[in-house]
Amino acid sequence: MGSIQLSNTVPDSDEFRALLKKEYESDLSLCYQCGKCSAGCPAAFAMENTVRQIIRMVQLGLTKEALTTYSIWVCASCETCSTRCPRHVEPAKVMEALRIEAKKAGLVADKRADLFNDLFLQSVSNHGRLHEVGLIMRYNLLSGQWFKDAMLAPSMMMQGKLKVLPESIKNKEAVAKIFKNVQKKRGGQK
């Protein structure tokens, strides 16, 4: 492993940290690397880098490494880390910020998770609420795993857990407006 040239990486990434602070109110200089976030993370078992390590990457200026890590897409946004963080870093917010920035930079590591997120939001924006069957079918088709979880469908259908046709809420324009506002604010997709 070659050494990290901190004299370059740190100053070169000042802008990115400033962006996180300004746009997402995430000040990573607060983090003192205690690891309380990673220790309590229920998704940590599936992560190649722990939350603490990802924050460290950003602190050291390894921005691209942080944006391309698969782990940010494993985060379930449960916010256990944010609740327990002794320094108010709010790691869950940082993970979300990194996902948005990864998307903007075209550096999404987990294409399927990204696709799922997009389809989920699309469904909510169209109907005002989630249409599970529509989401799963589109996801399976577009991600090329046509029969994923298909065997679960009959029993769920029998128990009335799945509705074939989408149901809309009463005032779905209001939800659509939320999406529009967010898009306007972010100037992007998500």
């Binding site: 003192y32 690397q33 205690c34 690891g35 309380k36 976030c37 990673s38 220790a39 309590g40 993370c41 940590a44 078992f45 880098n49 722990t50 603490r52 390590q53 256990t80 327990r84 963080c85 002794p86 320094r87 108010h88």
Partner: protein, 660 residues
């Protein structure tokens, strides 16, 4: 017209880099009253002061203005310089063009302009300066020490050894404080009681020390040299003159209460001595739990007492005593761990604090020194320590380091291994802070000889599975979550100010920080003094400390307190309020706003239209007045003035600024 001199200081480059000092000195020459003006590199240095003295004599100056740093730094220097030059020290003014100009401005032109304005104002004021003199007040040669932990005891002994009377006061009924609860002390592992109890006994027997326990300070009046302190002595319901401390009452008392001294791990009785080495070693009745005092039933202690010392009729006693100086040594509370819900603290009996462990290890503790789990009395094998609980945690409102925990955890791990060689200690840390003589070596030994396993990371969660506690953290050095099945978890709970620290600070009139630690007058150069003259700090009440540091500060506080007491009289402030009796209407508004109770009413007789008439006016006690100015702004008839800051002088400054 007064002849004023102006001296502009460069403060090396501190001022000169942002202010054209020569220009300021040049402009000042044209100010009304200025007969001499110059600039120099260091006015506070010997040649600078010589320059001032020479100029005073040569130009026959009546007063002068120094434009330099903050008056807090060097006003006394320049006042003394004036005295040496034969001037009244209050004929000078100091303008702060460092903190107020050069350090806060980047633009040299603007810095210069502002310096000139400030100087113009000061010259206008200096022209109206009058010679002032201070008076003297006698000093009561007795000290009060509030809090009788190790810091308070040490302070009292040192003051007493210096030959002064001292009252050692504690609200608990034994002296000894937190150190009495501790089993052994780092880094030498002396038994805490073995080194503390001789000091407790010395304090109790010293002819110059009056021990007042089970008592609280409820009010403080007066000022440095003469504090009038109101002390409430709580009813003990035991006559100490009759009691022999035989202990029969304790044995027979039927009411068991959870012992505060044992951190709730053991029982005590309603009539009790908190621990075997307590001083005084005579019992008190806890009125909240005594059956007789609550319901009028029982009375066993009174029946059994061979000397008839039990007296249920005793009442709280309030006394007022006068002291010359006060040392505050009220210590700390342990952080309330139940705020860490993720650690199950307060819910799981086997998640305890360092002080609990001290009691479990202590030979006179509830388990007679055998470490047993509070839940089932089993001997624990795997013990997890978690550091920085209630320290370095902004989310819990405690961002500071409690300083002693790193060492006490190392001590605990060492002692546990010595007591139970089959046990294993795991220590979660974020940083190991062992700054102190022989501290780092001690920590090293904990790892090398006593098998302490240090893990870098903060624990996220503790949960119970069967009779085990599962501790989940991240080893941040390897970057992976880790789990330990523990029998006992010890939280290194930090220190926090006493719950009523702020209330006491208000009673005493001393300042405190956002957490409630008492504030020293200067963080580096006056770490013992408070902002209130005559009140000093010792021990943890000022901020987290370990025992050696507390003792060092205690001795320092004793020196400060005796230094004050050894003076026959104190020089009072010269810049104090004065009442112009001719215009005073005697309304008394000033009396109600004066924080030092320095103003009283008096009657004056005067002749009006050929008749003698009596009239009420305000009069200022120069010994008590601190020159705060509250009365001057409150006075509806402008009769009150602060000498050196008269209304006339302040208006002259305003005029000077407006007329530029």
């Amino acid at each position: 017209m007064k002849r004023i001199g102006v001296f502009v200081c460069h403060c090396g480059t501190n001022i000169a880099n942002t202010v054209h000092c020569d220009q300021v000195a040049e402009v000042a020459k044209d100010f009304p009253g200025v007969v001499y003006s110059c600039d120099y590199k260091y006015m506070c240095a010997e040649p600078g002061q010589q320059l001032i003295q020479d100029a005073v004599r040569e130009h026959n100056l009546d007063g002068y203005v120094v434009a330099a740093c903050s008056p807090r730094m060097h006003e006394p220097t320049f006042r003394k310089c004036a005295e040496r030059a034969g001037l009244n020290p209050y004929m000078i003014e100091q303008v702060n063009i460092r903190e107020q100009c050069s350090w806060v401005h980047a633009d040299k032109e603007k810095g210069t302009e502002k310096s000139i304005d400030l100087l113009r104002m000061a010259v206008a004021k200096a022209r109206k300066n009058e010679p002032l003199s201070s008076s003297t007040i006698p000093v009561t040669k007795r000290a009060l020490v509030i809090g009788a932990g190790i810091a308070g005891i040490q302070t009292a002994i040192d003051i007493a050894d210096n030959g002064f009377q001292v009252t050692l006061l504690d609200r608990e009924h034994s002296i000894g404080g937190r150190m009495a609860q501790v089993d052994k002390t780092f880094p030498t592992l002396d038994c805490s009681a073995c080194i503390l109890t001789p000091k407790m006994v010395e304090a109790a027997q010293h002819p110059n020390i009056e021990m007042v326990t089970y008592a609280e300070v409820t009010a403080v009046d007066g000022f440095v040299g003469n504090f009038d302190v109101t002390i409430r002595k709580k009813a003990r319901y035991v006559d100490f003159d009759k009691c022999t401390g035989c202990g029969a009452c304790q044995e027979k008392c039927p009411k068991k209460v959870s012992s505060e001294f044992e951190m709730g791990l053991g029982p005590r009785k309603a009539i009790y001595v908190p621990f075997p080495q307590a001083v005084p070693n005579k019992p008190v009745i806890d009125a909240e739990h005594c059956r007789y005092l609550l319901d009028g039933k029982c009375g066993v202690c009174k029946k059994i007492c061979p000397t008839e010392a039990v007296d249920y009729e005793q009442k709280d006693e309030v006394i007022v005593e006068r002291y010359g100086s006060i040392v505050v040594a009220t210590g700390f509370d342990q952080f309330d761990i139940s705020k860490y819900e993720e650690y199950g603290a307060g819910r799981y009996p086997d998640v305890i604090t360092g002080l609990h462990l001290e009691r479990l290890m202590n030979a006179s503790g509830p388990t007679a020194g055998k470490i047993k789990r509070p839940s089932d009395g089993k001997v624990p094998e795997k013990i997890v320590f978690i550091k920085c609980v209630g320290s370095r945690d902004e989310a819990k409102g405690r961002p500071y380091c409690s300083k002693a925990c790193c060492m006490y955890v190392a001590k605990h791990a060492t002692l546990i291994k010595e007591k139970m060689p089959q046990s294993k200690s795991y220590i979660f840390y974020m940083d190991v802070r062992t700054g102190g003589k022989s501290y780092e070596e001690f920590y090293k030994r904990t790892q090398e000889q006593y098998d302490g396993q240090y893990i870098r990371g903060r624990v996220s969660k503790i949960f119970q599975v069967g009779d085990k506690l599962i501790v989940r953290g991240e080893d941040s050095l390897i970057g992976r979550p880790v789990e330990i099945e523990a029998d006992l978890v010890v939280l290194a709970a930090g220190m926090e100010p006493r719950a009523d620290a702020v209330a006491l600070a208000r009673t005493l009139g001393i300042s405190y920080d956002q957490h409630g630690w008492y504030t020293e007058a200067h963080p580096k150069l006056q770490p013992i003094e408070t902002h209130t003259a005559g009140i000093y700090l010792a021990g943890v009440c000022q901020g987290p400390k370990d025992i050696p540091e507390s003792v060092a500060q205690a001795s320092a506080a004793a020196v400060k307190a005796t230094g004050l007491l050894s003076k026959g009289e104190l020089t009072s402030e010269a810049m104090i309020a004065e009442c112009n009796e001719a215009v005073c209407a005697g309304c008394g508004l000033c009396i109600s706003v004066c924080p030092y109770k320095a103003i009283e009413k008096k009657k004056v007789s005067e002749r009006v239209h050929g008749q003698m008439k009596e009239r009420v006016v305000a009069v200022v006690n120069p010994g008590l007045c601190q020159g705060c100015g509250a009365c001057t702004v409150n006075c509806p008839s402008s009769a009150m003035n602060i000498n050196g800051f008269t209304n006339e002088q302040i208006l002259a400054e305003v005029d000077a600024l407006c007329q530029r």
